[in-house]
Symmetry: C2
Amino acid sequence: MYDFVFHNPTKIIFGPGAEAQIGAELKAAGIGNVLLLYGRESARKSGLLDRVIASLNESGIGFVEFGGVVSNPVLSHTREGISLARGSGVEAVLAVGGGSVLDEGKAIAVGAVAEEDVWEFFLGREVTRALPVFTILTLAATGSEMNGNAVITNEETRQKYNIGSIHTHPRVSILNPELTHSVSPAYSAYGAVDAIAHLIEAYFTKEAKGDATRLQDRLVEGLIKTIMEDAETIKSNPADPEARASLMWAATLALNGLTPAGVGPYTFPNHMIEHSLSALYNIAHGAGLSIVIPAWMEWYRPRNPDQFKRFAREIFNLDDGQAGIVALKKWFADLGSPVSLREMKIAADDIEMIAANAHGLARRWEIGEIYPQETIAEILRLGAA
Amino acid sequence: MYDFVFHNPTKIIFGPGAEAQIGAELKAAGIGNVLLLYGRESARKSGLLDRVIASLNESGIGFVEFGGVVSNPVLSHTREGISLARGSGVEAVLAVGGGSVLDEGKAIAVGAVAEEDVWEFFLGREVTRALPVFTILTLAATGSEMNGNAVITNEETRQKYNIGSIHTHPRVSILNPELTHSVSPAYSAYGAVDAIAHLIEAYFTKEAKGDATRLQDRLVEGLIKTIMEDAETIKSNPADPEARASLMWAATLALNGLTPAGVGPYTFPNHMIEHSLSALYNIAHGAGLSIVIPAWMEWYRPRNPDQFKRFAREIFNLDDGQAGIVALKKWFADLGSPVSLREMKIAADDIEMIAANAHGLARRWEIGEIYPQETIAEILRLGAA
């Protein structure tokens, strides 16, 4: 094992109806008023927003509403939220929605108390403070509910970049799995793909090899197997309460810092390449990942063949590393998530341009030497058709 | 899954030499002086205490030393520590040692700011505040480094009782696996037994059954398998750095609230009975557990046969629940941990007296109806010879 620091102070309140507790949690934290952030009007139509507002009213918490967060949340809307937060003097951000709303909520929380423009932090400036963030989650996918990460797209520069800080860890995240019962089959699949993607990045690229990280490997494999079973159940029965609950908690644990603790340095190559796909084509993050992952695995496998053998054996009961990649690709496809650029109508001619964009993120993440533009293009070509 | 709250704000700093960071961590938390709590003089002789004091000095943290914590820490010494903490006006407790030192540190932290005598809290009064607790761990076993629990023995009444609170969660726990390299074979084995015991209590007794908690079952099984491999490696090579590191982190995760989150109500019957053994005979907690667990399993198996089948299959690759119990008992024995009262020279004639003591704890934990005195005696008789 490698040295590590694990610090995840987020309080998770899990269960049907748990959103009714948000007012009391804010009050207990000494918060008097919040920016109430959400995405589409579905949060209002479903009645969720009304229930949240009722809970705020009951505890005497004031709020300023700010809707309209989009998937792959954008910098311009984030800046609007920052202006509103500053102007109204809110003491915290309450984000109600999926990972996009949570991520934008964190970015607003940083920008609202910063002297600099918020994009400076996405370009590398250290986050040293933020308004407290509280969340009510409506989608099992990104893990944003229990980590300090936020990803925002700068529409002008076409950069989909991230920040990560202990200051942007949600204080409290409310996970009511019933809120996810109505998520569409496509987005349910993308969520499962995203959670699996979070688990495999460190699993394959970690510096510690062999027996030293048996524990972490087992945690990852247990989570992946559970997520796969849950996703299959949800595909045939979208409102299965046990599968929805299990997927929600598994997706949270997939990116809360637990599984990579102790595995040494690792990289996020699949996210790096996918962020360019969704920045350039505005496709769903999970849809982009199911295209990138099998292609990247094929390219990466010779660099860590033993771990790919282990993956094939533990996840698919197969004894060949390449067969495990084929099986995962087929599983993505069967679930209804795309596995080629062609399916998303992204032309092979665009590959150099995508690779150039992704290489910008590779430099930002200091893995530009492992992933020069030509290597990224090579990986993308493996996922073209 | 059942509703749950998961909230574990402890910051873990893991790695060789990490104790050098304690001064800076205290300073960053605004602490000016601490009660420096430790156990036997081995902490001084090994040089650990000197290194800790050097770190405190470097950050300008004042301290008052208080040594002499014993295994199965006792109320009288805890009360002495509380007097010292009050009299010296320390702002935090820094516990350096194994689970006993950490537990007494938490109890002192509660008592130092309470108007009541500290034992009131062990008898059921709610803990509402405590001095901040910081820890430097020297033994992989109890998980106290990442939870709010503390167990103290009242020598007068022969009660080994516990408290649990968010206020006694360590703020920072430093885990340097090298500090455990010199732990004796016997105590290394007891530590592994204790960690396994923490995992199986909820695994077998949880209210949620079947597929609803596949995720939690897999996390438990992954941890148990890892702990067993680590313990076997340590038995033949006590200073194996990877096994010591892996065991230390696995033992922490075994009782940090992760694995039972979502499994519904569960009980701690093995700990209930063992606490009486160590309260009455002052035997090591792990030694008592390896006696109680196989006996309890034999008694409990008909009440949850499917989970015992699962345990046998996943842990020992056996297809019969009873065979899994036999295999675990043999594994405890092979590791050098006792599996009968006779081995610890506890007479069968004492069983009624032990059962009466344990039933006191059963009432305290509100499981007295499941475990009347006669049932506890029946379980103990299964572990007599």
